[in-house]
Symmetry: C2
Subunit: 423 residues, 2 copies
């Protein structure tokens, strides 16, 4: 069974907006054992919509439309699906009544254009919309194939807003699709690594995962992280899970401590768990990352038990005030130096009384200082230091890319340095 997702809306044909529903829908379909073979994005144009709908209905077994179910003139998905399938629509009195009630509750007269939200493809089942007004539709039908035999087709119309589409897919489509599809059991696993080149991970893991021809392996790389995704389908859930677990264990044995998460948790969460288990507290003194490390740590709920806070020490004066960095040190070595990184980590730890202090100083660019002790230092030069009261380590990095990338990778290196220290 293959599926096609059609995202409807002219805003997704501008440089500003993108279809994101299809990622969610693809995840849901994959879990049911259905692959997505095509995604089409089409504007609010009747002719284009009918053409795209016709093509999808011919080439896919399951066609899911998202968007174009609202009350405005631009909302044409119902009409286009009907035209492409060559079937009629009727106005459903119960839907009409519930639309009227929604307006009555807000003490507004319903504008007549809203009535079209009650138009239903003949023989379609209505899908309840718990979070919005337009119901979805489910049509289980057949069209003649090239050789004349009927081909079964599932056509699903879903509203565009993710807050309506997601609960509707989960509550109304998933069980219906399960009932229609052959019973299959899928298991997945994800292993996560930080800061290792993708080619290194592939060179070391390919000889292992290539032997598991029944497991689909995907390597994703980005933002200083490598993810290995494993997925397999078996006659029983137990068998499927055992197979991806078997592969994951072999890869874990090969990559060892490079793997920060064997169950999908993020680097921030792993760090929080490890700090929590060892009952340690952390503080940070950030220059070039400007609060990004603290922001990433505090994106995790309940981290306040272990992360007590930190300082963004953008100016030299604040490096001294918040982290006791001696002005003489700044003058002698410059702010972007291993000496100052070390002083920041030690200083913030002392000042806050935390178990561990992290200091970051560097040059995120686009330009560097032209005078003083830091003059001529290259953009991308970053020092990260970690102090635990016994020892203070410093790491020097030369990061490529623009300001945003340098800051992101510097924060990633700091988190990974902390994780390896805690391990």
């Amino acid at each position: 069974m293959i599926a096609e997702i059609i995202a409807v809306g002219s805003e997704m044909l501008t440089p500003h907006r993108q279809d994101t529903n299809s990622l969610f829908l693809t995840g849901g379909l994959n879990k049911l054992g259905v692959s997505v073979a095509f995604k089409t994005i089409v504007g609010d144009n009747f002719q284009h919509l009918v053409s795209a709908a016709g093509i999808a209905i011919r080439r896919a077994d399951i066609v899911i439309f998202s968007g174009g179910l609202g009350p405005t003139e631009d909302d044409l998905t119902r009409e286009a699906a009907a035209a492409a399938l060559g079937i009629d629509m009727h106005r459903d009195p119960a839907v009409l009544e519930s639309l009227r009630q929604r307006f009555a509750e807000r003490r507004i007269a319903m504008p007549p254009n809203n009535e079209k939200q009650a138009d239903v493809l003949d023989r379609a089942i209505l899908l309840n919309n718990k979070t919005g007004s337009a119901p979805g539709q489910w049509l289980d039908t057949a069209i003649p194939g090239p050789e004349g035999h009927p081909h079964r087709k599932i056509v699903i119309l879903l509203p565009g807003p993710p807050s309506e589409l997601k609960p509707m897919f989960d509550a109304e489509c998933r069980p219906r699709l399960s009932a229609v599809l052959p019973q299959r059991y899928i298991a997945t696993r994800m292993l996560r690594m930080a800061l290792i080149p993708e080619s290194t991970v592939d060179a070391r893991t390919a000889p292992i995962y290539q032997k598991f021809t029944d497991v689909e392996t995907t390597i994703l790389a980005g933002s200083g992280e490598i993810q290995l995704h494993f997925s397999t389908t078996k006659p029983s859930q137990k068998e499927a899970q055992a197979r991806v677990d078997e592969l994951a264990e072999l890869i874990e044995r090969e990559m060892g401590e490079d793997i920060f998460s064997a169950q999908g948790t993020s680097l921030e969460e792993v760090v929080q768990l490890m700090l929590g288990l060892r009952d340690l507290t952390l503080s940070t003194a950030e220059s070039c990352t400007g609060g990004l490390l603290a922001e990433r740590l505090t994106s995790i709920p309940n981290i306040s038990r272990n992360f007590i806070g930190g300082a963004v020490v953008y100016s030299d004066a604040l490096k001294t005030k918040f982290a006791n960095v001696p002005p003489a040190l700044l003058e002698q070595y410059g702010a972007i130096s291993p000496e100052v990184a070390r002083a920041l980590a030690d200083g913030i730890r002392d000042f806050t009384g935390s178990s561990i202090g992290i200091g970051i100083t560097g040059l995120a660019g686009p330009a560097g200082p032209t005078s003083g002790p830091d003059a001529g230092r290259p953009v991308g030069l970053v020092y990260i230091s970690l102090s635990d009261g016994e020892d203070t380590q410093v790491k020097q990095l030369q990061l490529p890319g623009d300001r945003e990338r340098i800051r992101l990778w510097a924060s990633q290196h700091a988190l990974e340095m902390l994780r390896r220290h805690l391990q």
Copy 2:
């Protein structure tokens, strides 16, 4: 002239990856007066690719493929475009030679599968790839239309990596498209507003922009910001610019100080400009936003002249240490109180010696404290305070949504409060 973009790659049919090249390509095409009518995403499957290519070539005047030009077995875009167009390919000796040289420079023997990167559609022009190995291709051809007359078609093959696709489109495709397309002049403007409901903006601006039927107006809302995009096409650049400027000025008059940017600059940049113009310095003391405000400010290059730094005061002890918040105040009112917000803003300003201090305290969730003076306070309750030495203002917010959204909106409110204060 209408265009279709075909993004090629099985990874974009997973729940993890999305096509982003099409946003860049759409922007480039729109500037040349070409609308994108369809976007198709298809995997590395020869049959699916040929089918998608054939449909696109029939329904669009310009078809741009991104991806599938590499050396692996999965890279099938060249072959599929040739099959769909019914034309042959030849192996270009010059491309072959330059591929061999690339490998020779790295002292590696070229694996034979790389040779297919030299396969060129007959009569296609090669597009130079300055940042990678596979050249792009440009084919200006014609296919018979439904009524038998030839229809001109431009078919463009571009590599998938954005770092190769973007410079190739700019250097090799833009001038060729300009030469082929009828001369048109497009002007655009963007107005940006923060924290106003989209419906309010639309209600106040629609009566104005609806009179400009020759200007396309798009309203985009997200992350606490509203953008109004205007675009028009005229026989001269001057005329086009004058028309969007005329509309922008009327909207500016209506929305007044709600507009933070009339030229497209971000809220962070506007704040930086205003601080710079008035030669003011800023410091921040953040609790629930955990460094997000500092991180957003420091994403702007050269802000170090005005933003000297700040503190992430997650624990009560650090609120006292970094911003001199009296422990008695924390005990009496709790950390999530207007009193503590005020003390944070005043305290960080005093401690750092900056012209302006901002304090943020609140409850980002998912759960709130169950004991102490903050017990029972609702998730989403946030206080933001701004102190300038003469006056200290405090704003109370009740923000909806999850932890991420509450933190983002709190930082947005702080930036907007600062902008309005500086205005």
